[in-house]
């Protein structure tokens, strides 16, 4: 209750003239670290007496209870914080790498429609993520001493054996329950919905069958709305925009032991921060950098979070083009590409897991320059244009010119990827995508295959083939493309073109596949693409 009132007060006081903040921040940056640290302390104290919105504090709602903490290291993950600082061990660690889902939690954000939740992997998400948001954990989702329907159904259907994965499954199911609106009306879930919700949860004991049954059965149990849990001690609609200046760099959200984290809300702020900290770690979804902390035990001194900059998280449908902000998450894109690029949306459905897709971004997937990222080949095939901004001003780069070598791009320190633009497909054009991996869901590609074709009057007018997993960077297959262009759209053309794959690509063998398989399957995928494009005409599609 106290927190709630304080926050009300704070929000009133947030309308302090912007300049005051700037001075504060100038001060912060001008003084040596130790004193600066005190400066931030001072800000916090000011805040406590209601003079100014301090920023060096994480404030969040945990299962209905408001919590503030100003001593959280910027590198601290949600899971670590809950299990060690809060001594609340209901979320488990199975891998600390986003792969197993034992740590799955629900994170809620206030919107016009009320609190909206999504799942995430608490093991690789930073505490900054929960700032001014609503976190739900397995022990907190039941109401009035009752189990949540997801929990009750899991008990009824014998969905747990060793129980270690169970809290994570419960959260994925509870999120599915809430997202599909089962708390307001009964409906029937499909197996597809259930598998998608569970794609990031591994269970070694049950073989999943009873868990899927529980997912079906939870719909029939007495309804439960978890947002009532979150709202137990009052709802808050944050207006973070007013917390920080619109231009100039904002103060650190976290500043502990000389390590700091910034959470800019606008690109102006981001640019100001990049001027001061050109070598800062840019943190988008964290599904890649997060592993630096949890697997390699690295600690970043300066982290700049990109995921609250609203302009980066937008998609815009233009006349001829689609504009995708670099901060658009996979989940968002999966949804928003469904109409214009259905094959792309299907691919997105196979990237990581539901949790990973809720966090990871298109920009991160392109900027990390991994040779096995899934979207770069698709963007290469679509000949995407990348918008770059930062210390050297705004520029545009064709994605084909973006990658310089293994994990190297044209991005300079102090620059960021702003957006990706792709042309809409014309009626004669198509995009065929194939992801080859050992496991269907939540696996990294052995080969990612993307083929753009323009076929007019039975002749291939244009073709762009790009693959991942076959070279040091995602790469176009130029010789193969040449063998396609200008040729009749026929099986023979594709079979002939496939002979050039070996000239375009020299893959390596690794844990995911041998080089021989990578080449063979890429050749075969060319034929398979043809068969799919002609499915219905040729009878037996691949």
């Amino acid at each position: 209750m106290f927190c709630y009132m304080l926050d009300q007060l704070v929000r009133k006081l947030q309308r302090i003239p912007r300049t005051e903040f700037s001075t504060e921040i100038q001060l912060c940056r001008a003084v040596p670290p130790r004193i600066r640290f005190q400066g931030v302390q001072a800000a916090r104290i000011n805040r406590a007496v209601g003079q100014k919105t301090g920023v060096s504090v994480i404030r969040f709602n945990l299962n209905g209870r408001w919590i503030e903490d100003n001593k959280i290291d910027p590198n601290c993950t949600i899971l670590k914080y809950l299990r060690t600082t809060m001594m609340q061990p209901d979320a488990k660690e199975g891998c600390a790498a986003g792969d197993c889902g034992a740590c799955t939690l629900m994170l809620g954000e206030m919107t016009e429609r009320g609190i909206e939740y999504r799942t995430l992997n608490a093991c690789i998400a930073l505490m900054a993520n929960v700032h001014e948001r609503y976190l739900l954990t397995p022990s907190g989702i039941g109401r009035a001493g009752q189990l949540h329907p997801a929990q009750q159904a899991m008990v009824d259907c014998h969905g747990s054996q060793c129980g270690f994965c169970t809290p994570g499954f419960v959260m994925s199911l509870a999120n599915l329950y809430q997202q599909t609106g089962l708390h307001v009306r009964q409906s029937v879930l499909t197996d597809e919905q259930i598998h998608a919700a569970l794609s990031g949860n591994l269970c070694r004991c049950t073989g999943y069958r009873p868990i899927i049954e529980a997912a079906h059965k939870m719909a029939a149990l007495p309804a439960c709305d978890v947002s009532e849990v979150s709202a137990h001690n009052g709802v808050q609609t944050f207006n973070p925009q007013s917390d920080v200046p619109a231009d100039g760099s904002p103060a650190a959200l976290q500043d502990v032991d000389g390590r700091r984290l910034f959470m800019p809300l606008t690109e102006e702020q981001l640019k100001a921060l990049l001027r001061d900290y050109p070598d800062a770690c840019l943190w988008a979804g964290g599904t890649d950098v997060g592993l630096e902390i949890t697997q390699r035990f690295k600690q970043f001194d300066t982290i700049i979070c990109l995921n609250r900059i609203s302009t980066l998280a937008r998609t815009q449908v233009l006349d001829e083009q689609l504009w995708l902000g670099a901060g658009v998450t996979y989940s968002q894109a999966e949804h928003e590409l469904a109409d214009l690029f259905p094959s792309f949306a299907q691919l997105l459905h196979r990237i990581g897991s539901r949790q990973i897709r809720n966090m990871g971004t298109l920009g991160g997937n392109i900027a990390n320059a991994s040779p096995i990222g899934d979207t770069p080949p698709a963007f290469l095939a679509l000949n995407a244009t990348l918008e770059i901004d930062g210390n050297h001003g705004r520029r545009e780069v064709a994605i084909n010119d973006f990658y310089l070598g293994y994990k190297q791009t044209v991005l300079q320190p102090g620059e960021y990827l702003r957006a990706i633009r792709i042309n809409k497909l014309q009626s004669s054009e198509s995009l065929t995508l194939h992801k080859i991996s050992k496991r269907y869901d939540d696996d990294i590609s052995a080969v990612m295959f993307a083929l753009f074709m323009d076929v007019q009057n039975g002749i291939i007018k244009n073709a762009r083939l790009a693959c991942g997993g076959v070279a040091a960077t995602p790469l176009r297959a130029q010789k193969t493309e040449q063998a396609l262009i200008g040729q009749p759209f026929s099986e023979n053309t594709f079979l002939q073109a496939a002979n050039f794959i070996g000239q375009d690509y020299q893959p390596l063998s690794d844990v995911r596949a041998s080089k021989e398989y990578r080449l063979q399957v890429t050749r075969n995928l060319l034929l398979k693409s043809y068969l799919e494009l002609t499915a219905g005409q040729a009878g037996d599609a691949a």
Binding site: G94, S139, S160, L202, G207, Q295, K438, R439, V521
Partner: protein, 786 residues
């Protein structure tokens, strides 16, 4: 004594109905509600005592070689570091080999595998310990490393001598047979991937002793090893485990090392010490299921009947024996699966390699033997051009026969079970439909397989087949139950509690199962070999029977009735022969009365499995008390352009005798099948040419997810009482269903074989990843062109 807990249903109400949750009912797992809330406490969830420190190990960066120098100065000086230990700092025994020596707690001058522990660090936080271990300066004199079974065989490198079994004269039978054939199969191992990694929490205890919480399937062994390592009498060490987040064999021997290291630190610092392996350390530092390289020579007749078989199995043991002797034995015991080899010679090699020491994993070598039997049967079917199911049936054992290790074949009702599944799942009609599908589809092909499982139950080391239990009855009628078995998700605590409830005809909520603890029930066997409920259920029953006979004796004297007139019914004790005049006394009142009359309400129970024996010198005997049966039919579809596939349907009929808890048993069957499927499909262990484990994380080692399970997945119990006197005539269920996964592999191979019109048996080593399936398809394409 007047207190009655509000959690207890009034006795009057209980009298009106049968007791709830007794053996045979579909009771939920005892911790189900705690599981879903996240409040079931695993060791890492226990509130840490003030002053707790965290340990991590430093690992070798070569696979084989001498350690020339180990400079740990930077490690000691790293932030937060409190203590560092190497082998020299171990006060007592330095080798923690469980059966045979050979597992030094830290590398003893020589590194034997990449990632072997060299030293350990203790720090104020887990992260500090993890960062510190990376600062060690180590120099080595590298030596050539043995990294494959083939290498080890060539160089005669073995961790234990080979063993062989035989029946009749295989060589002559093969030579005389109308058809001779040979083949081989490389079967890869498997990472356990229990969701909870290895963990131990050691607290300094009285008189220099240790109280250790350890996620272990074998607390007694951990206790013994900790006492040896600290040079203490065993009674100074207590090991406790309430539950594990999965074990699957991976915490049978391989939990001890971390418990020992934590204990050594706890003693040195006199502070609580937690040692938890993160996922990558867990995957690199602990052993896995063994790879096997198997070869056969067969003599068969024109109908595909096996006349003679010469089989050579070679297990990938890693650098030390661990349990490999018994594991390779079990592979040998199961290489016949359900088939009469008539004349057989089976040899099993225990290959030594410079890799982590492989260990127990659900099935304990059995699956690697059994899949080879099924591979042979498929090869035979292609050779003689028959449906594989018919060839299987033609080769089934019959009662009265005997195995290649001399165990008589009895109660062999597997043919009947297979017949029933064949009908239930419509095998013949689906076979015809699939043949048609494959004829009309150019790129997609379907496959079908129906394979049996016959799995021997008992530890093949005779002395392990014993168990103890401890039962206390309190004066409110509630019962405290303890036994030597550990709970790892398999539902053992639930089942044994149900046994106790059944014996006293009490509601299950009167029975409180408690953490396995070496100071409650001593000298226990590992919870392994599917034996948990067989052994501990019987031991608990024995304890209940002892208590019941005391209570009956007391009632006889007290009420002056015959023993037969004292009955335990509906949570009550009924005294008197005549239904109408009989006196109903609530269980609580009755035991209070007994207590007041000075009857002991606590006892231990004990059980030792009868009938079993095996003579290793003659390679014959009856190693198994009985066999569990089952069969599984799987349909798959493959894409011949990419090798990708989908398991479309699985039907399983499985024999658990008279089920102790059908819900739990079905859970074991479903989970076992999917784990077996994972082993043979997406889960691929890979070491590079330097001996580094490449599949060392959840990102590179892929266990099945929910979409991988067949959309049609039917599991039925074959309800028939075990002819042997097991607990309520049930059968063990932990391991046998794992091997139903073999049907997936056979079905994939069937689909591939369709490419060459079933004329050849394509090579398909495991796991059958899309890559291997595509290679097999291409093999068939080339062969049928040729």
């Amino acid at each position: 004594m007047s207190h009655v807990s509000s959690k207890v249903t009034p006795w009057e109400a209980r009298r009106q109905r049968p007791a709830k949750g007794k053996s045979g009912s579909k009771l939920a797992h005892e911790s189900a509600e705690k599981h879903v809330l996240g409040t079931a406490t695993y060791i890492d969830d226990m509130p840490e005592l003030a002053g707790t420190l965290f340990a991590a190990v430093g690992k070798s960066t070569i696979a084989h070689g001498k350690i020339l120098s180990l400079d740990l100065t930077a490690v000691r000086n790293a932030p937060g570091v409190v203590d560092v230990i190497t082998l020299e700092d171990i006060p007592g025994e330095k080798d923690i080999g469980p059966v045979f020596k050979g597992d030094p707690i830290f590398a003893d001058g020589v590194v034997e595998f990449h990632g072997q522990a060299l030293f350990a660090v203790l720090a104020e936080s887990f992260e500090q310990a993890k960062r510190a271990v990376l600062l060690a300066q180590v120099s080595y004199e590298e030596q050539p490393a043995l990294l494959t079974i083939q290498n080890a065989l060539q160089q005669n490198a073995f961790v234990r001598p080979a063993h062989s079994m035989q029946k009749g004269d295989a060589a002559s039978a093969i030579a005389a047979a109308p058809i001779q054939m040979s083949g081989e199969l490389y079967v890869k191992g498997q990472e356990h991937f229990y969701l909870e990694g290895q963990i131990s929490y050691a607290l300094p205890a009285e008189d220099g002793g240790i109280k250790l919480y350890c996620s272990s399937q074998h607390p007694t062994e951990v206790q013994k090893l900790v006492s040896e390592v600290l040079d203490l009498p065993i009674n100074h060490v207590q090991v406790e485990v309430r539950r594990m987040g999965g074990g699957f064999g991976g915490k049978e021997t391989q939990a001890a090392q971390w418990g020992c290291i934590a204990s050594v630190f706890a003693r040195r610092q006199n502070r609580p010490v937690k040692m938890r392996l993160d996922r990558q350390d867990d995957m690199v530092l602990t052993g896995k299921r063994h790879d096997f390289y198997n070869r056969y020579q067969l003599g068969i007749d024109e109908n595909g009947k096996i006349l003679g078989a010469d089989i050579e199995l070679a297990g990938f043991c890693g650098y030390s024996p661990d349990l490999s002797d018994a594991i390779v034995d079990r592979a040998m015991f199961h290489v016949d699966n359900a088939y009469d080899l008539n004349n057989a010679r089976v040899i099993g090699h225990r290959c030594k390699t410079n890799t982590v020491s492989n260990t127990a994993y659900r099935g304990f070598g059995g699956p690697q033997g059994m899949i080879f039997a099924e591979a042979m049967l498929d090869d035979i079917a292609r050779k003689v051009g028959k449906d594989p199911l018919d060839v299987r049936k033609a080769n089934f054992y019959r009662d009265g026969g005997s195995t290649h290790y001399g165990q008589p074949v009895e109660d062999f009702f597997l043919p009947e079970l297979v017949e029933q599944l064949e009908q239930d799942c419509d095998y013949r009609a689906r076979r015809a439909a699939i043949t048609e599908f494959n004829r009309t589809n150019r790129w997609k092909k379907r496959g079908l397989a129906l394979t049996p499982v016959r799995f021997g139950i008992s530890f093949t080391i005779q002395f392990l087949n014993q168990a103890g239990a401890l039962v206390h009855i309190y004066t409110d009628g509630s019962i405290h139950l303890n036994h030597g078995g550990t709970e790892m998700g398999q539902g053992l605590f639930t089942k044994v509690a149900q046994v106790v409830a059944h014996e006293f005809d009490l509601d299950i909520d009167m029975i409180q199962a408690s953490a396995t603890a070496t100071d409650k029930v001593p000298n226990t066997s590992p919870t392994a070999a599917s034996s948990g409920s067989d052994l501990n259920g019987k031991a608990a029953q024995n304890a209940c029977q002892i208590l019941k006979s005391r209570l009956v004796q007391f009632a006889q004297q007290h009420y002056q009735v015959n023993a037969g007139d004292v009955r335990f019914i509906n949570n009550h004790v009924v005294i008197g022969a005549d239904e109408n005049s009989a006196q109903w006394i609530s269980f609580a009142d009755f035991v209070t009365l007994a207590y007041q009359n000075r009857v002991s309400l606590s006892t231990t129970g004990y059980y030792a499995t009868p009938k079993i024996h095996y003579n290793r010198d003659t390679a014959s005997g009856r190693p198994f008390f009985y066999f569990a049966f089952g069969a599984c039919c799987v349909e798959v579809e493959i894409d011949t352009l990419t090798g990708e596939y989908k398991v479309l349907r699985a039907d399983i009929l499985h024999d658990v005798g008279r089920s102790l808890n059908p819900a739990i048993d079905i859970g074991q069957i479903e989970g076992g099948f999917i784990q077996g499927m994972g082993w043979l499909t997406t889960e691929e262990l890979l070491w590079d040419d330097k001996g580094r484990l490449q599949s060392n994380s959840a990102a590179t080692y892929k266990i099945p997810t929910s979409v991988d399970i067949p959309a049609h997945f039917n599991v039925q119990l074959f309800d028939r009482a075990n002819a042997e006197d097991t607990i309520y005539n049930s059968k063990a269920v932990g391991e046998p269903p794992f091997m139903h996964g073999i049907a997936v592999w056979c079905a994939l191979r069937d689909a591939v074989a369709s490419v060459a019109d079933y004329t050849i048996s394509p090579p398909l080593d495991t796991p059958a990843t899309p890559e291997r399936v595509l290679n097999a398809v291409m093999f068939c394409q080339q062969e049928s062109k040729a």
